[in-house]
């Protein structure tokens, strides 16, 4: 495996940012969060209404590093085997043939993940946690790097199956994707309508600027970024504060604190400093924690939201400084 220095890894991150920005107009925070998760080796749950460029982002990302790209459109009749693959008896050669599912890709887009029932969603659990698929008793490793980008629609509730907490916890970040600003939308519309017909997602403008191996090397650099004990303590204190905070019935577990630190490392790489700052932890905390918290019923009745509670926690928890 190639090895990269910090500067090379940071430059790689910048190149990826630039290439994605060729087709994804605006949504800078979403792109940065996705890249942070990519470098941290975590999965991302994107939540937003249709038409905001979620699929385009994933396709552009796959195109930029030349990785393989798989897409699963989750529907109520989707079966686990449709995700992972299956083994069939081949009568011609009298043996079993294994057909790999779409998860065997570097980037997997699980579109509208909450439209499939829990049994099908659970098929992703092993994939996301272990990075392997067991077919007919045989474990098949997934290609690396492997990143699941799942999307879900927050406004349609009919015919959907809420993701179980165990599965939500597998996602490193839950990123909210919102409407672009006026200026960004103007650029987006101008770009999408100039010389194009139809509404197919065209990512041909994105050039390949990295290989999967380089990405793996960058992930290694990210994992080894220096984090001071005080910053680590800050991340843990934030995660622990969610457990006994008024209005929160279930707080983030240790996986939440781990995710917070990993995501902060990813952000530090993108920001260009070879050590993790408290600002990195604070910046990624909402995305790293919002899907791990459960609001108390009385807080829901009062109209409180998870976002508001996390903001309050971040205001109250002392930042590290000696």
């Amino acid at each position: 495996m190639n090895t990269l220095t910090f500067a090379e890894a940071h430059a790689l991150a910048q190149r990826l940012q630039q290439e994605i920005a060729r087709v994804v107009k605006g949504q800078r925070a979403v792109v940065d969060a996705t890249l942070a998760a990519l470098f941290a080796g975590g999965h991302v749950l994107l939540e937003g209404v249709p038409g905001l460029g979620k699929t385009l982002l994933v396709k552009a990302l796959a195109q930029s590093f030349g990785g393989s790209f798989g897409r699963i459109q989750f529907t109520p009749d989707l079966m686990p085997a449709d995700i992972t693959g299956h083994t069939l008896f081949d009568a011609r050669n009298g043996g079993f043939t294994t057909r790999r599912g779409p998860v065997f890709a570097n980037l997997l887009l699980a579109d509208e993940i909450n439209r499939a029932p829990a049994k099908t969603q659970a098929a992703l659990l092993e994939v996301m946690q272990e990075g392997q698929v067991t077919l007919d008793g045989e474990a098949h490793a997934l290609p690396t790097p492997f990143l699941v980008l799942a999307t879900q629609n927050p406004i349609e509730q009919e015919g959907t199956y809420a993701l179980p907490e165990a599965q939500l916890d597998r996602f490193l970040l839950k990123v909210l994707i919102d409407y672009p600003s006026l200026q960004e939308e103007q650029q987006l519309v101008a770009w999408a309508t100039s010389g194009r017909s139809g509404d197919r997602l065209d990512v041909s403008a994105v050039q390949r600027v990295a290989s999967a191996e380089e990405l793996l090397a960058a992930q290694a650099v990210t994992a080894n970024l220096l984090i001071d004990d005080s910053v680590l303590d800050y991340a843990v204190r934030i995660a622990r504060a969610t457990r006994d905070w008024p209005g929160i019935s279930v707080g983030a577990g240790p996986r939440g604190a781990i995710g917070l630190v990993r995501a902060a490392r990813g952000r530090a790489l993108i920001s260009g400093h070879d050590h993790v700052l408290p600002d990195d932890v604070k910046a990624v905390a909402p995305a790293a924690l919002r899907h791990r918290l459960l609001l108390a019923p009385e807080a829901e009745i009062e109209g409180l939201t998870v976002e508001a509670l996390i903001a309050t926690i971040l205001e109250r928890v002392d930042a590290p400084r000696q």
Partner: protein, 532 residues
């Protein structure tokens, strides 16, 4: 000035008709009256703004000073009105020339101090200024004049205070409507005046001072004129001044010595009859306003003094002998009215019952008187209790008002800086006296991280306490830098440099070069001053 050339028709009037008369009088003498008052108010405003706003720095005090000096403006107004009554309205220049004399009159200090809050000051002002009374007679005279029209005088004060408020609030609202919103052009008029934010905007205070001078110049003459109208009414009621003047006119028309004497007696009796006590106690009361009485033509030939001239005793005796008949003739004149007989029905039994001696048993009368006595006692006790309760309620209200005023004042103040930010003690007293020296000492000992921590903590302390930047306990270094940048603090460039250095030492475990540390120490002294 001729006392008989009265420009108003004196007759018995109600109190509010009398105030209407005052308003008409003010309209008639509008030019010297309003301009004189306005000039004085503007002069007082200029003086108070210069002294209290410019030098002392309190625009609200400057406004208060103009309000406080209103009795001074009243004197000029009354001077003009008193002359206008006798159809001798002074010019603007003449009324201003009379100002030094008016200021020298006694009673001004009292009017500006302990009698400043007298609700009947416009009614009582003529007693001092026109009649020239002092001391006990003046007190008795003021009390006498205020009787029966005191309520109207208080109503007049309330009305004009309300008008002033309406004009004030209306002007504020008008300016607030027409001035574009935003801090760039003018501070919000509502904010400056209604929310007491005037001290932060001294130039707005000056503008409002001029506006208030115009309000005073517009309303104060009317206020004084209403009080003067009430004063004329009371003199008419008490002293039959209108009758006196009517008789004088008749006497002048007839010009007969005999009739003159008769009229003089009639005048004397008419004047003395309704209020003999005060008429005898204060000779000036029987005359028109002192300004008129002191004038050279104020002593007509028909006055009582004319009857006492030497050599006229024979004629006086003859006149006295003929007086009853002459008086009857005079009283038969239509000016004295006509007799009118009215009839009404009354129960005969009532009068019979009153006239009949009581046949009630003595014990019953005693019992009734006892019960009535208890009732009176109970009423008196209740009265005292109610007064006590009212006093307590008033004190409680004052206490609540003072407490609320203190709360409002506290709310206007910016919040005090926190004692610590993210566990760092940023109180100035927690820092060494010489920060740079202490930092250099730590650097010499090789404690680079502690040295930078101290430098960073001291910078936060200075920014929180001097620049009043509101740091929160959860602020990271990036948040602190963002707040400092947003506040456009003078030291933001240095603070950014210091933050970066601190992050490198604290979180990246890097060491800084000596010259860089030296530059930070030097820069700290330049950005925040050497001493703590």
């Amino acid at each position: 000035m001729d006392a008989e050339r009265l420009s108003v028709a004196l007759r018995p009037r109600t109190a509010f008709e009398a105030m209407d008369l005052g308003v008409r009088l003010a309209q008639r003498a509008a030019r010297p009256l309003f301009l004189g008052c306005l000039i004085l108010a503007l002069a007082a405003t200029a003086f108070s703004q210069l002294l209290l706003n410019y030098f002392y720095g309190s625009p609200m005090l400057a406004l208060l000073a103009v309000w406080w000096l209103k009795p001074l403006f009243d004197r000029t107004c009354l001077h003009v009105l008193a002359h206008a009554v006798f159809d001798a309205t002074p010019s603007l220049a003449a009324s201003l020339r009379a100002l030094p004399g008016l200021l020298r009159q006694r009673g001004l200090i009292a009017a500006l101090t302990w009698r400043r809050f007298d609700p009947l000051r416009s009614l009582r002002l003529p007693v001092e200024q026109l009649e020239g009374l002092r001391g006990r007679p003046a007190r008795a005279r003021r009390k006498l004049l205020a009787g029966r029209v005191g309520g109207a005088g208080i109503a007049s004060l309330s009305c004009f205070a309300f008008f002033e408020l309406v004009l004030w609030v209306g002007l504020i609202g008008f300016v607030a409507l027409v001035v574009p919103s935003g801090d760039e052009i003018l501070p919000s008029p509502i904010q400056t005046l209604m929310l007491g934010d005037l001290d932060d905007h001294p130039y707005a205070g000056a503008i409002w001072g001029v506006v208030y001078a115009f309000i005073v110049g517009m309303l104060e003459p009317f206020f004084v004129a209403c009080g003067f109208g009430l004063y004329l009414k009371r003199r008419t009621d008490l002293e039959a001044w209108d009758v006196e003047l009517q008789l004088r006119r008749v006497a002048a028309r007839l010009a007969s010595p005999l009739v003159a004497v008769v009229f003089a007696i009639a005048v004397g009796s008419a004047v003395l009859a309704p209020a003999p006590t005060q008429a005898q106690a204060t000779p000036a009361d029987a005359s028109p306003p002192a300004s008129a009485a002191r004038s050279d033509s104020a002593e007509p030939a028909s006055s009582p003094a004319a009857a006492h001239r030497p050599g006229s005793s024979a004629r006086r005796e003859a006149a006295v002998a003929a007086a009853p008949k002459a008086i009857r003739e005079v009283l038969a004149q239509p000016e004295f009215g006509t007799e009118k007989t009215t009839h009404s029905l009354r129960w005969k039994r009532d009068e019979e019952r009153k006239a009949r001696p009581g046949n009630t048993p003595r014990w019953l009368r005693n019992l009734v008187e006892l019960i009535a006595g208890f009732g009176k006692l109970f009423a008196e006790i209740s009265r005292v209790v109610i007064y006590g309760v009212l006093a307590v309620v008033g004190l409680v209200l004052v206490w609540l008002l003072l407490r609320q005023a203190r709360l409002w004042r506290l709310r206007r103040l910016p919040p005090p800086p926190p004692a610590e930010v993210a566990g760092l003690d940023i109180r100035p007293e927690s820092l060494p006296d010489d920060i740079v020296k202490a930092v250099r000492g730590l650097l010499d000992q090789g404690h680079q991280r502690e040295a930078l921590a101290l430098l960073y903590r001291a910078a936060l302390s200075r920014l929180a306490h001097r620049e009043r930047i509101a740091f929160e306990r959860g602020d990271t270094e990036g948040d602190c830098l963002m707040r400092v940048t947003r506040a456009r603090a003078a030291a933001q460039a240095y603070f950014a440099q210091l933050t970066l250095a601190w992050q490198r030492v604290a979180y990246a475990r890097q060491s800084l070069a000596g010259e860089q540390l030296d530059g930070l120490c030097t820069g700290w002294a330049r950005a925040f001053g050497a001493a703590a």
